[in-house]
Structure formats: C-alpha cells, structure tokens
Symmetry: C2
Subunit: 339 residues, 2 copies
C-alpha cells in the first residue's frame, strides 16, 4: 500500500472548456480517521459531467470547489481502517463525496456498502449508483414516460444515456440515441436503442430528428442543452416532456450567456413541458429504483458498460475525455496502488 | 336593424406588428340560416392576443386565417332568427367562432346561452368565458399553484391577468403584477395584487423582480414571453413553475426567430418546470371552473373589468390597442347597429 496520499486540487476556474492545467497534483501524508470514522483507499474514482458545474464561480445547486480546494468526486474504495463497528477492514464501499485522492476519511453515513458478487464494482457507479437513479427518475418521474412514447436521449452513449435508453425500451417506448460517432451509435443499438443520430455529421439536425421521429418527440432526456436541444424543440409531439438533466454542451462556455433561438411558440403550441431535474430530489426513493434496475440486470435485460482509464495521474484527463464525448459508457479512473 | 352585413377580411399577413391595413372592410347581404342553424347579430366582438397567432403563416395550434378569409373571433350576440327549437329570437348567446362581422350563422353546438341578469354581458367574454378558465387552469392545473406561493403575472392588467391575480389572492398566494404603466399597476392593486412592476420604466427588470420577490418567483403566469420571461428566469425559486400561456411581446416579430439568452442552467438548478398551456385541453372541466368564478363574483371576491371600444369600424384598431398594451381589462368592441 502507498504511504503517501496523492490529491488533485483545483488551481483555477476554467474559462470555457477546462484543461489539465486547471488542476495540480500534490502529495501529503495519509489522513487519520477520528472516532466513528474510517479510512478508505480509492479503487475507482468517478468523473462525471456534474463536476463542470462545481468548478465554476456561478451559483449552482450545491457548493462549488474553489481554487485551492481538493477536487470533488465520488469513489469506490476499500476500508483500510475503521473506527465504526458497522464497517471492518476490507469492506468495499461507494461514496459520493470522496474527492480526487488516494485516501479519504469518511463517515459511515456518507457511504454505502457494496458487493462485487452482486455486480462488478464499476456497476455501483453506473446503474447501481447515481446514474441509474438519474436515468430512472428522469424518465419515469420527471418526464412521466408512457409506453408507446418516442424517447430521444442525448449523450446516449454516456452512462446515464445508456441506462436511460435501456429503461425506455423496457418501458415499451421507442428509444432514439443522439451521440457523437458511428461507433457510439452501434453501441447504443447493441443495447437496444431503435435508432441513432450522429450530431457531428448531420448537417441539418432538426431534419434528421424529423426523419427518425416522423410523429415528433414525446420525451427528450436532455443531457446536453445547446444545438441538440434546439433541434428537438423543433420536433415536439403534442404534450412533449423534456427532462433537463445536464448541459454538457455548454461545458466550454459555462459562465457565458447561452444565446440562441428560444422556441416559446413551439412550447406553447405543443403544450410541451420542460422540467429541470436534480436526482437528489428523489433520494427517498433510490432503493426502489435500484431494486428494479438490479432485477433487470440479473435477468440480462439491462447491461452495464464502462470505460476505464488506468492511473490516478490521468484523472483530469479522464474528466476532459468525458467533456469532449470520447467515453463509451460510464467513465471511471482505476487507481494504481503500488507506490 | 341593419340590412347589410359588414365584415372584416384579412388582406395580408402582417410582417411584425400588424397594422390596420392588414384588414379590409366589405359589405354583403345578410346570410340565411339553414336547418337547425340560427342567425345571430353581434352585440360585442372579441379581440384577443391569440388572434396574432392565427394571422401568421406559421404553424399554430389550430388552423389560421389566410388572406381573403373573414377574420376570426368570438362574439356576444342576439338570436335574430332560429331554425333550432332550443333557441328563440331574442336569446343572447356567446360564440367563440363568429368572425369580425355584424351577422353570423351559427349552429347551436357552437354557442352558449348567456344571461345578463347573472352578470353584465361583457363578463361572459371575461371571467365567464375563455379568459376565466385560462386564468383558472393556467394557475391551478398547469402551474399547480399552492398557498404561500409568490405568483408573478405578466400582462397583468389584461383580461386574463386581472382574473389570474384575483384567483392567486383567493388561493392564498402573493400576487405581483408586471404591466406597462403606473395606471395599470394602480388598477391591479385595486383588484388585490400585492405589488406591481412597470416593465417600461424599470431599467433593470431582473433586479426589480428580485426586489419585489426576495425569495424568488414560485409561479409565473407568462402572457408575454420576451424580456419579462427572461427577467423572471433569473429569479426562480426552487421548483418554480411557469405557465406559458401567451407570447404577446413577440407580436412584432412573430415569424422571426426569437433570439436571446437561454437559461437552461437556471432551469436545471432550480428544478423549474415550464409548461406550454392551451386552455382547450381543459374543456371538459370548464363548467366546474365557471361555477367557482361565478360564486366569487357573486360574493364580491372577484371583480370584472372591461374596456369597450365603440363601433364595428374600429375592430382592427381595438385589436392593435391590445397588442400595444393600451387596454385596461378585457378589450371588446361594441357593435353599432343603426343604419
């Protein structure tokens, strides 16, 4: 086991698209857990689009990271030392608030115990983690998805998008992927998506959506905002529902006004509903959703795909990979433990 | 009684803000009702913001008026001749589909019988007509208004706005008027609004809303879109709900893209809901709402204000008055019948 703790700290707020130079790595001594606390060694670190919102001086839904702070992020890790009777050395846990570091001191209330025999560890950051409940409640609750709906999902080959497409199919819907490469469309089709649109190669995205969704879009699970949202708004079915889950297309202009066409007449005429969505509002119901997702996984109806980058030093790189749509499935960093 | 039928026809689609020259008046003979039809003489003609959408070549929620067509619009009128046993000469009716003309042939299924002893005739185009149910369902159903909400209403001194503000107060909410003059703010306050903002004289509308709504806007009844909507979007309370009922601020650029800032991060972070709204979706429940509105009117809890222009020849002028925010309460045209 390492005898120092590597950490990534934010150095500066990014202007537009973040770069590796917005973070710096340092080493310090391994922290000591206090009473009722435990020391956890990271096995996988999470990188996720929500982190773009945290490294901005703009108001967000939760406190941000200031320059100088340890970078936020979840992790899957192993308990190294426990001062709490309910956890013992060797237990595997997942924490939503760990930080980009080798070792973290966590309180039992802030972790969940996980079991690699139930599903491989990365799945606990995917459908058995926040991404699973995000896809589930974003479609089932926020969008009130109904069988027969045409469901369009952006960032469809990302973690939330892959789960969402599979849930839409399980719910009797037609699922259409919007993503950034033919390879990703192929992956989405393997997972059950009925069709896919490559937004990078389509010269007329509204027309492409109209072609694939001739009766309009009933549900749009929006992970991107920007031009993809604009194109969907021009193809709304009556009573369309849009879940505004993420805005990753704004990653390179996060603190600037997003100027473009508004579509208020179309929203009015189609009686569309646009619903801002934070999964944490559904926290009291996570266990119900995870139980369903796990059932589907066990029967083979739900697949879990992940994209692992090796090496702690590559954590910012993995995050940038995600922001520039290079990942296929849940993006994680596997932490190297030998010196 | 007149012996010719005056009619206003659309001559051309307006480019931007309509002008009187978009219509022309003609005279023809009085039409004859067929079997089960009746001939109705207009007493009041309706002018309303929805008509801007009808005189555009753009797709709308219902068929538009083409150049050459009789201009659409509702009316309150008197039955002059009836070939249907359920109506007799002298009955007073309201019709949503009459047209800008002196005489119309209507089918009984397309009219409602009204009673001037229950409420003055103009009220049947106001709270006892479409505007009443628009205000009611726009707040109660679409926005799911709750007691204690801060409810902001644009075009607050218009017919829908005046009714909406009164309903919000009856529902235990704080009602804030956004309108275009001090005189209109005073009228809104007389009707019970707690505060008002004059968007024409405020140099910083987002700051003005922040001042009047320090805890943010819970419900916004949007009759305007444009800069007022933009300013509200910068002042959303968590879980804010916006009813997109009208877009009258776009009247002068109806067929052009509406370019400006989008506020997707704010919508996401505050979990706001933006709901496109057409009252006709609630048609099966109109009677319930009218019964409640009439009860409030009878007890004095709801007031009915209208703004009457005299003379059939002034119908386009009255419509333009509405589009340029000059009316105070429901705008109607009183049809002169002599000669």
């Amino acid at each position: 086991m390492r005898n120092t703790n590597r950490q990534w700290h934010l150095v500066s707020y990014p202007e537009g698209m973040p770069t590796e130079s917005n973070w710096a790595m340092s080493q310090s001594s391994i922290p000591q857990p206090g009473d009722d606390e435990m020391l956890v060694r990271a096995i996988y670190l999470d990188v996720a689009p929500y982190m773009r919102g945290r490294i901005s001086p703009q108001q967000n839904y939760t406190a941000g990271v200031s320059p100088g702070d340890l970078m936020v992020g979840g992790a899957i890790g192993e308990v190294v030392q426990s001062n709490d009777p309910s956890y013992k050395q060797g237990d595997i846990v997942v924490s939503g608030a760990f930080g980009w570091q080798d070792f973290g001191v966590v309180k039992p209330a802030m972790v969940r115990r996980i079991d690699a025999d139930v599903a491989p560890l990365p799945c606990w950051m995917d459908f058995l983690g926040t991404n699973g409940v995000t896809a589930y409640f974003g479609l089932v609750a926020a969008a009130e998805m109904k069988p027969g709906d045409t469901v369009v999902i952006s960032a469809a080959a990302g973690s939330v998008g892959q789960i969402a497409g599979q849930i839409a199919k399980l719910a009797g819907c037609r699922a259409i992927a919007i993503t950034s490469s033919e390879k990703k469309i192929a992956r989405c089709r393997e997972l059950g998506y009925d069709g896919g649109i490559n937004y990078r190669t389509e010269s007329d995205l509204p027309a492409a959506i109209a072609r694939v969704c001739p009766d309009g879009v009933d549900v749009y699970f929006d992970n991107t905002a920007g031009p993809i949202l604009d194109a969907v708004l021009q193809n709304l079915a009556p009573h369309a529902r849009i879940t505004v889950c993420g805005t990753v297309s704004l990653a390179d202009r996060f603190d600037k006004p997003d100027i473009g066409e508004r579509f208020m007449r179309r929203i009015l005429v189609s009686r569309a509903r646009i619903q801002g969505f934070l999964v944490s509002d559904y926290q009291g119901h996570y266990e119900e959703a995870w139980a369903r997702l796990l059932n589907w996984y066990r029967t083979g109806a739900l697949k879990c795909e992940y994209d692992i980058i090796e090496g702690f030093e590559n954590t910012p790189k993995a995050f940038l990979r995600l922001l520039t749509s290079q990942n296929l499935g849940k993006q994680l960093v596997k932490v190297d433990q030998e010196t």
